[in-house]
Amino acid sequence: MIKDVLKTLWKDKFAKIALIVLALIYFALLFADFLAPYTKDFSDRTMSYVPPSKVFTIDENGKLSKPYTYNYLREFDQNNLEIKYTLDRSQKHYIKFFSKGQPYKFLGLIPMKRHLFTTDNGGRIFLLGTDINGRDVFSRLLFGGRISMTIGFLALFVLFPIGLIYGGISGYFGGITDTLMMRFAESIMSIPSFYLLIILASILPAGMTSTQRFLLIVIILALIGWAGFARVVRGMVLSIKSREYVQAAKSIGASDLRIILKHILPQTTSFVIVAMTLSVPSYILSESGLSFLGLGIQQPDASWGNMLKEAQEFTNILYRPWLLTPGFLIFVSVLAFNVIGDTIRDVLDPQSKMR
């Protein structure tokens, strides 16, 4: 079945592009340490809000040259009372490929120093400029993406087992159990999800390590979504449990739990796959919204949402548009997930005409 899905995805023009885009993004995130010229925590305090570096391949005499860049000089303009950045043309900094830079651990294991590109003697290369602390936006995009693009999946892996078992038990036993369990799920759904999200995020105690915080946000995202999912599963279980093979399993004395786990829930697989792919984007969006408000992933860790936090200031969005790049990445990856989700639904649920 998975083969069929992949085949159809590859045949569909849009889905193919989406798959390639996502593959590229995840590839870049996996090798972020190597691709990024700087580490996540690198900051040059003298270089805050530097615009993107200009890369030249043709030198001042009009001849082709190795790619080089100039550093920026920060000046305070007395007349307009603003800080200006001008290129320091006195010294060229050649871009070096595969040479040694800041140390890191490749894939978190192997200590390495080589980066895809760095600059020589004291040069700085900021492909997408820097933020308020003089940190390279391009590097942080790669590291932040690791969090933004995985948090949704992790939340789903917490949420789906809960939803499946809850919905399974509720639908299978029926009667008063069903009524009580469903009323509870419905009341969770009756709280506007974003309100619940920010409240849960706000009661997280301060002073957690970034890993703890990350995991708790995963759990919070999962707590928001399980109820709706459990309700649909319950509906499916209601129709499955009256089938003959379930009756047969009952008559040979299989336990309730075994029937639910081994006979009923596997029947919902295709729905689960569709629901999962379709809900990844909404978790990416939730995380970014939460971090945008400052309730999600905290500094100095990066996520696409908390990088966009700087876009809350007018001066930033007007004069420093490079700070908006995380927003475009969120848009592109959510779009890609949506396209793939739609195509998968076409394969697994041919009756649906949502596309």
Binding site: P281, L308, I317, L318
Partner: protein, 323 residues
């Protein structure tokens, strides 16, 4: 009569729901390690007597179940306590809820006015380039993070100067005559409405298109065609009625989604709505305000669903007979 009875039953069902919702929210908030009165105590303009009153009203020295009982009692009476700045919570909510309702109502009306026709047109022109283009456009609309879109529109507003930057009214709003007031409100509403409209249009259009395709495939529509009815009357007289019914159920969901989506949009546009209120309350850990706005959000959502259900009872006779 049957219909009324069913509606009455449906209204009664919301009461236990509200109780459970309030229990959940109460315990979530009490789980937090924050002292609910910390802000109030630190605020020099709030007198110790008010703090003491709040302490008694919330019953903070009593077990949590008793606390819940006291909270619920005063909530039903309409006493929601004071905010950390010493204002009455109920007053604050009274200012903010109409604004959020205004925003969401306009968005829902607009999405229905645009989304339903677009869904029908897409279904009638199924798999034509027009349909394809619409699908691509709606996918794009679904993928933009609302807050990011809002930020982009703010840049647009600042650069062109065509729209006010945030807020709901101009500073001189009080001096305007009625016509100017309405124009001023509309002017401020354009951008937030546009953000929420773009984001919620996609879902509605797709659902309408799917319903319409389902109905157009059914036997009675084939029969109507076979009878030689004009395409117009097949689509708009026979198919449309059945295709719209499921949309009414969606109305409740749409309202829920809008309440959540509006929070971020309100925040970016500095729009004085419930969403921004709860955000600010959460950030200041203003417990009374958080609890009250959470309940209000839930009540609005439950009411939205209730209205959708009642509309459905009125439009769809099959549900009445089931009840």
């Amino acid at each position: 009569m049957e219909t009324l009875k069913y509606i009455f039953k449906r209204i009664l069902q919301t009461i236990p729901l509200l109780i459970v919702v309030s229990l959940i929210s109460f315990f979530i908030i009490r789980l937090s390690p924050v002292d609910p009165l910390a802000e109030l105590k630190l605020n020099p303009s709030v007198s110790p007597i008010t703090v003491q009153k709040e302490k008694e009203r919330l019953g903070l020295d009593k077990p949590i179940i008793v606390q819940y009982g006291m909270w619920a009692k005063s909530f039903v009476k309409g006493d929601l306590g004071v905010t950390s700045t010493g204002e009455r919570v109920s007053q604050k909510l009274k200012e903010r809820i109409p604004n959020t309702l205004l925003l969401t109502t306009i968005v829902i009306l607009l999405t229905w006015l645009v989304g339903v026709p677009l869904g029908i047109i897409a279904a009638v022109n199924w798999k034509t380039p027009f349909d394809r283009v619409l699908t691509v456009l709606t996918s794009i609309g679904m993928a933009i993070p609302s807050f990011f879109f809002a930020v982009l529109l703010l840049i647009f507003a600042v650069k062109t100067g065509w729209f006010p930057i945030g807020g709901l009214t101009s500073p001189n709003f009080a001096q305007m005559n009625l016509l100017a007031k309405i124009f001023d409100l509309a002017h401020h509403l354009v951008l937030p409405v546009f953000v929420l409209f773009t984001i919620s249009l996609a879902g509605l259009q797709r659902q309408m298109r799917a319903n319409m395709l389902d109905v157009l495939d059914s036997d009675y529509v084939k029969f109507a065609r076979a009878k030689g009815l004009s395409e117009f009357s097949v689509v708009y007289k026979h198919a449309l009625r059945n295709a719209v019914n499921p949309m009414i159920t969606l109305l409740g969901f749409e309202f829920a989604g809008l309440l959540s989506g509006a929070a971020l949009t309100e925040y970016v546009f500095q729009y004085p709505g419930l969403g921004r209120l709860i955000l600010e309350a959460v950030m200041k850990s203003d417990i009374n305000l958080v609890m009250a706005s959470l309940m209000m959000g839930a009540i609005m959502l439950i009411l939205g669903n209730l209205i959708a259900d009642i509309l459905l009872i009125i439009t769809d006779p099959r549900i009445r007979s089931k009840a």
